[in-house]
């Protein structure tokens, strides 16, 4: 059977198609159909011809097969040093093989490729730092995911995720109206505690345009209130856009490049429409990667930058603390052993290692902050990156992958881990659920709300 009803090469284009696929609980029929899905070798080879150029071609060619990447990969280490988990092997046996066979691969092969691309690599890019030739296998796996997506060999949840971006311009079925209503409602909830607290929507020329992760709107609306409170206390002139508020991109995890472009352009058009001085994104790693680091390229921006300066939440927070816009009550600083989860997407891949540690210096009582080993740009993936967290059929592999972070946390001796990244946050929640090590985890916002001083003029009147 060439194309299934649920599993096919066609991206989701209507709400009905999306709902139908969502209705196939757990992707049961989807994966059943995938077993019969044909590979369009001609298209595959043509795409490779058009997109696999100098850099990737050379990477595949000059790999010395030295195996120095092995130890850099947490999935290799945690899977009892299985040679099949060596990054170079994983990419050579998938992308390398497709190229060698000029795209003439079969269904069974593509199933193996799909599992390798989503369950044996989180695109954390750590291996690239350990390869003498500078071969970044995470980048190649990102590329390979695109080929898989085009051929219809993509995990069910990610086909849906990419579809969500295509239909709602959000990773979940959250409409623009729901976003604005939820934000306003959450702000109202806290008005009494913080007189004057408000959220302005679509204000032109604000200092800050704030963008979020749709999960916050759907599942963690407190996060929106906390963001509003901290901007309010810092005296910021900020706004949210009524459309183009979603910073994440499950389409990036899925390899649906057309959807990536649609998504990021919705945010950029909000920037162009509202002309803020800067955009600040929420505490999410891949959202920052998608909108600020990769997004400009999907949108065809040759300077590699979004239309306005765009920063991660940690950059704004460090600045607000540094400049005294937010003041931490010294008595309320964290006085228990605390560590920090370095998100691959903005630490290794956006150089924010010092900024996050600067924040620690303001909010943790001296002597209580402990580094994980390894850390900063050499830190290991949380275990659930690159979409791994959300893929049902690869849950056992994901749970095993969490052991790396579990052991890093145990060895640090910390009671609390601060995780300014949704993906890492989820992975740590899941590892606690799975392995019960007694770790507490938190975003920065709730911690800050509990410890910042409220300026006299902003205090509620008794």
């Amino acid at each position: 059977m060439p194309e299934g009803k649920y599993c096919n090469k066609k991206p989701i284009e209507t709400e009905e198609e999306l709902k139908e696929l969502l209705g196939d609980t757990g992707g049961k029929k989807y994966y059943e159909e995938m077993k019969a899905l044909d590979v369009d070798s001609e298209l595959l080879w043509k795409t490779i011809g058009n997109t696999l150029k100098s850099r990737t071609k050379t990477w595949l060619e000059i790999c010395a097969h030295c195996g120095m990447c092995a130890d850099s990969c947490f999935l290799y280490l945690i899977n009892d040093r299985d040679p099949k988990q060596v990054p170079a092997y994983k990419i050579q046996s998938t992308l390398g093989e497709i190229v060698k066979r000029k795209g003439k691969v079969d269904n069974e092969f593509m199933h193996m490729v799909m599992e390798t691309a989503w369950a044996k690599c989180t695109c954390c890019n750590r291996c690239g730092m350990y390869c003498p030739h500078g071969i970044d296998m995470g980048v190649m796996f990102g590329y390979l995911r695109g080929l898989c997506y085009q051929q219809g060999f993509v995990p069910w949840e990610l086909k849906i995720g990419a579809g969500m971006h295509r239909i709602y311009r959000a990773q979940m079925d959250v409409t623009n109206e729901e976003f604005v209503e939820t934000f306003k409602w959450m702000v109202e909830e806290y008005e009494e505690d913080y007189p004057g607290l408000e959220v302005s929507v679509d204000k032109e020329g604000a200092d800050i345009l704030y963008t979020v992760n749709a999960r916050e709107v759907k599942h963690y609306p407190e996060d929106l209130a906390e963001a509003a409170i901290l901007f309010h206390l810092a005296g910021e002139n900020w706004t949210v856009p009524s459309s183009g508020w979603e910073q994440t991109s499950l389409s990036m995890f899925a390899g649906d490049w057309a959807a990536c472009k649609m998504q990021v352009e919705s945010v950029y058009s909000a920037m162009e429409r509202l002309k803020p001085k800067r955009m600040v994104g929420t505490e999410c790693g891949h959202a920052h990667r998608a909108t600020v680091i990769e997004g400009p390229y999907w949108a065809g921006r040759s300077n590699g930058k979004p239309p306005v300066e765009s920063i991660h939440y940690v950059e704004w927070l460090a600045e607000a603390l540094r400049e005294g816009k937010l003041k931490v009550d010294p008595a309320k600083r964290i006085k228990k052993k605390v560590t920090l989860q370095d998100s691959c997407n903005y630490i290794r891949n956006n150089g924010l290692k010092e900024i996050t540690r600067e924040i620690m210096s303001y909010i943790v009582e001296p002597g209580y902050f402990i580094e994980m080993t390894p850390n900063k740009e050499h830190n290991f993936c949380c275990g659930g990156g690159g979409g791994f967290n959300g893929i049902g059929i690869f849950r056992p592999q994901r749970n095993k992958a969490l052991i790396t972070k579990r052991d890093q946390l145990i060895n640090s001796g910390a009671e609390l881990v601060i995780s300014p990244c949704h993906n890492c946050w989820d992975a740590i929640r899941d590892l606690e659920d799975e392995y019960k090590i007694g770790i507490k985890w938190s975003f920065l916002k709730p911690l800050l709300v509990s410890m910042v001083e409220i300026p006299e003029h902003l205090k509620p009147k008794e």
Partner: protein, 225 residues
């Protein structure tokens, strides 16, 4: 035979090697695409250049990177192999005598004892590189017959050269074999994995630019390789 190998064949292999390396190097950079690679190479030439240099230089220093420090044994045999493999062909006194005779110039030359040590270091290191391929499962799984071919091709001029140098058996036979192997190696450089002689620098430069321009190089202290 000797005349042919040191005459037309010498020129031919040298030209193929040099032109081939230049072509590969130029084609690599011409083939980079800011949109496909998602790196704005041209928008930030200064930062890109600095990142490229940093990425190359750090990896040229033994134990200079996290990667090297993580694998001390590999680092020793890697540099043991490559130092000799680069220095001996270029700076061996005998090679420079030949060069002087051919083109009238010669480079600085190595002390003969040091040249011997370097040559032995190439052979011993290569032996361990092979042993590593056989004994470590994570390297064995990657290794193909082609990898051994490339290694043997690279070792052949050193082995034949040493035999000739110690005058074991027929000197003229081993000298001819040495020249033949050396020229085969020169010709193979642009067309095989040996192209890494130039593409190592190209590929490292690319990742260096990627990190410097796009992945945080303009924020904080930059990349700790």
């Amino acid at each position: 035979m000797y005349k042919f190998l040191t005459g037309p064949m010498f020129w031919l292999s040298l030209c193929i090697c040099l032109i081939g390396m230049i072509v590969r190097f130029v084609l690599y950079f011409k083939g980079l695409s800011w949109q496909l690679d998602r790196v704005a190479y041209k928008a930030y030439p200064v930062q890109g250049f600095k990142g490229a240099m940093n990425s190359i230089l750090k990896w040229l220093i033994p134990f200079g990177t996290y990667g090297w420090r993580k694998q001390p044994f590999m680092t020793v045999i890697f540099f043991g192999f490559h130092t000799g493999a680069i220095l001996v062909p270029l700076f061996l006194p005998a090679h420079n005598l030949f060069l002087k005779e051919k083109i009238g110039i010669s480079l600085i030359t190595l002390n003969p004892v040091f040249a011997d040590i370097l040559t032995w270091s190439v052979i011993v290191s290569a032996f361990f590189l092979i042993l590593r391929r056989i004994s470590l499962p994570e390297v064995r799984i990657l290794t193909t017959a082609y990898d051994y071919f490339i290694l043997l091709l690279s070792m052949a001029p050193f082995i034949t050269g040493l035999i000739a140098r110690y005058e074991i058996g027929s000197y003229s036979f081993w000298l001819t074999a040495h020249i033949l192997c050396g020229e085969a190696l020169l010709i193979a450089i642009p067309f095989t994995k040996r192209s890494h002689i130039v593409l190592f620098f190209a590929s490292r430069a690319q990742l260096g630019m990627d990190y410097a321009i796009k992945r945080g190089g303009m924020k904080g202290k930059g990349m700790a390789w």
